[in-house]
């Protein structure tokens, strides 16, 4: 393992090791740059992933406290865990379910397509769809996405058979086993999916793409990566000219340390990335680093989600098999006749028995609640994933009440649901119910909004420095050697699970960084 000096101002600092950071570390090291990557969590391996769902949750999840407010469900249903993402090497790519849809052309032109929706900060992306698509093709190849590049689709599971039957009976056409960054055949030095159904606990066969065992070991093999685990970056520092000079961090023993940097790629997940920028306030940047626009932390998007469960007379055993191996794509269109703007996916989903009552069902107890659990064998499941409206007031701020283990203010999340959000989710869950009824369900059950697993928008891209935090390449307008390399840069959320877009934007950003270095502009 490489070790670089803390006063080596020639290294690149990457903050976070997930989809964004892990991919960026690989891209930079293979171009010959020295990288120090910080990860707040520990390093696991496929062998060390716990196969007990409760233990695995503790092993992988970002459990630092947060406060929250607003009208969205997690304030009531999940007060201490508004968002469910990872704190471990590989970040959220360790527990993700690997759905990799692309954004659609209309979604990248949200303001133009949807018009003026009062109460939102909708904007068009400053990137053309064709430009992003070029990088989707590269990312899909790298991640071995099913149904792309000649990779076969996943075989149909029991849970998918139910979804498929109902969806086709309703007239849906684009129904298949989803685009997944999971090997449907052995390739890339990794085996094929053996349908364990334990995607969320970490894939023990490594059939599912994760930076933990793809990008990061490849970066390490270059001899150019210094990965510092259990190290939490608490501040980005800058010089009198406003250029970033390095980071302050707490090491595994809680001691304060510093690392100098040539430039910095911030990929801490849209909640923590925004928090770190806000924590890095200074005389020059009194409202947070790179925040002259006052857009840092605002426009937080998380996707509109909710489970739909169908109870059948006969067994489904929905927990067997790749968790998200199924999708109905037909509603991922803009059709205002439905009563809202934007669209959604209906994605296959199952939960293990212990997780179902904690995440997948509405608050309840007694006979009504127990009767759902009693039907666990015969339960088919899906999850809505819809576009939520960006709003200036839906934002990450520094908590006034809660501090982290180092005494620094935790992230506070405020989330007010827009009427469009409510209408879209209601439509989507109704369609999910209709699918199960068409397949013969004797009962359907809707969940509340579970903790957010997709975090976006808190440092949005915009050509105009007054309206966004970064340029179309994720370079901050205010600090020329500071890049944002995660879902924070998404101008709007679309309805696509964000990881493929994050990886694609990072591949494109790394290419840009390479060109800027060659041109002497970094």
């Amino acid at each position: 393992m490489s070790r670089f000096q803390q006063n080596d101002a020639d290294v690149v600092v990457v903050i976070g090791s997930g989809a964004g950071g892990g991919t960026m570390a690989h891209e930079l090291t293979r171009r010959g740059l020295k990288v120090v990557m910080f990860e707040a969590g520990r390093r696991q391996t496929p062998a060390s992933f716990s196969q007990n769902p409760g233990e695995a949750f503790g092993q992988l999840t970002w459990l630092e406290p947060r406060s929250q407010s607003g009208t969205w469900d997690p304030v009531k249903t999940s007060p201490t865990l508004p968002a469910w993402h990872c704190r471990t090497v590989g970040g959220t790519t360790v527990h993700w379910t690997a759905a990799t849809p692309r954004l659609r052309r209309y979604e990248m032109r949200a303001r133009t397509t949807y018009g003026d929706v009062p109460g939102t900060s909708l904007a068009d992306w400053p990137i053309e769809y064709e430009e992003l698509k070029r990088w989707y093709l590269v990312a899909e190849k790298r991640m071995c996405v099913t149904r792309r590049n000649g990779n076969p689709g996943m075989p149909a599971s029991n849970n998918f058979k139910v979804m498929y039957t109902g969806a086709r009976r309703l007239g849906y056409k684009r129904v298949h086993t989803n685009y997944l960054a999971i090997n449907s055949r052995a390739q890339d030095g990794r085996g094929f999916c053996i349908q364990q159904g334990f995607c969320v606990q970490g894939c023990k066969t490594a059939a599912k793409w994760s930076t933990l065992y793809t990008e990061i070991p490849r970066a390490e093999a270059t001899g150019k990566l210094d990965l510092r685990t259990e190290c939490l970056v608490t501040r980005i520092e800058h010089d009198a000219a406003g250029k970033a000079t390095g980071v302050v961090y707490r090491d595994a023993e809680g001691r304060e340390q510093r690392q100098k940097a040539r430039f910095i790629c911030l990929a801490g997940n849209a909640i923590e990335s925004a928090r770190l920028l806000l924590l890095s306030e200074s005389a020059r940047f009194p409202h947070g680093l790179a925040n002259s626009s006052d857009q840092v932390g605002r426009n937080y998007c998380h996707h509109l989600t909710g489970f739909v469960w169908g109870v059948f007379d006969q067994p489904v055993h929905s927990y067997r098999g790749a968790t998200l191996a199924g999708v109905v794509e037909d509603e991922n269109v803009h059709d205002p006749k439905r009563g809202f703007v934007g669209g959604y996916h209906l994605e296959l989903c199952a939960l293990d028995l212990p997780t179902l009552p904690l995440v997948g069902l509405r608050y309840g107890w007694g006979r009504e609640f127990a009767s759902v659990m009693d039907n666990y064998r015969n339960l088919a499941g899906m999850l809505v994933n819809g576009e939520d409206m960006p709003r200036p007031g839906n934002r990450i701020t520094l908590s006034a009440t809660i501090k982290d283990a180092h005494g620094l203010p935790a992230a506070h999340i405020n989330c007010e649901e827009h009427e469009n959000d409510i209408a879209l989710r209601a439509h989507a869950q109704k369609q999910g119910q209709r699918i199960y009824e068409a397949a013969g369900a004797k009962r359907t059950i809707l969940s509340a909004t579970p903790p957010a697993t997709h975090q976006m928008g808190t440092a949005r891209m915009s050509r105009d420095p007054a309206l966004g935090v970064t340029t179309p390449y994720g370079r901050t307008h205010d600090v020329p050697n500071l890049f944002i390399s995660d879902g924070s840069v998404q101008t709007t959320a679309g309805a696509a699970n964000p990881t493929l877009t994050i990886v694609s934007l990072v591949l494109r950003q790394a290419d840009y960084i390479g060109r800027e270095i060659s041109a002497g502009r970094i």
């Binding site: 996943m154 449907s184 159904g197």
Partner: protein, 184 residues
């Protein structure tokens, strides 16, 4: 003998000694009964007294009533909450006050009576913490997994690829274009 659900005996617990014991016999039809040396089980408690543990056991049953689910699974929840009470004075006093408030006849009362009593305290931290712990422990142990038909991890058995992930026969098969081939 039973899976540990947070009832690990610490030094402090030895000092305090056993305050109550929940015991029972696993039903002969319980799949676990064939796997373990004895069907009798016991959960030692170190904070709750017998009256409190009976009331708590009844409360857990009322929160998650599953006919046929072995009492051993419910006893594990009581054991886990007892463990929390040993570790935290605040939890202990919250529990004591909460259980007392349910009334002396709670444990032996009808389900309708228990539901009605719990509804009156539903918004209290006492009820909410017992409810959450019930969900976490009751559905997180192998007795419940066997009862509800959840087969758990499959990696050690080669996944569900050849063990039923696609064995559903009561609906038509999915055409190949919408699915994909079995991997080789």
């Amino acid at each position: 003998m039973l899976p540990d659900a947070g009832t690990a005996v610490g030094r402090r617990q030895f000092v305090q000694g056993v305050t109550a014991v929940l015991t029972g016999v696993l039903g002969a039809l319980n799949p676990l009964a064939t796997l373990i040396p004895s069907r009798t089980w016991a959960v030692d408690l170190h904070a709750l007294d017998p009256e409190q543990s009976a009331a708590l056991l009844a409360m857990v049953h009322t929160i998650a009533p599953h006919d046929g689910l072995d009492d051993a699974a419910y006893a594990l929840v009581v054991g886990a909450i007892d463990g929390d009470a040993v570790r935290s004075e605040e939890t202990r006093s919250q529990l004591a006050a909460g259980l007392l408030g349910l009334g002396a006849d709670f444990a032996k009362g009808s389900e309708a009576l228990r539901v009605q009593r719990l509804q009156t305290v539903e918004t209290s931290p006492f009820f909410q913490s017992v409810r959450i712990k019930t969900l976490m422990v009751l559905y997180g142990n192998p007795i419940a997994w066997a009862h509800f038909g959840y087969e758990g991890e499959a990696f050690s058995k080669g996944g569900y690829l050849l063990r039923g992930f696609n064995d559903l026969k009561w609906l038509p098969e999915v055409p190949p274009a919408a699915g994909g081939p079995m991997p080789v």
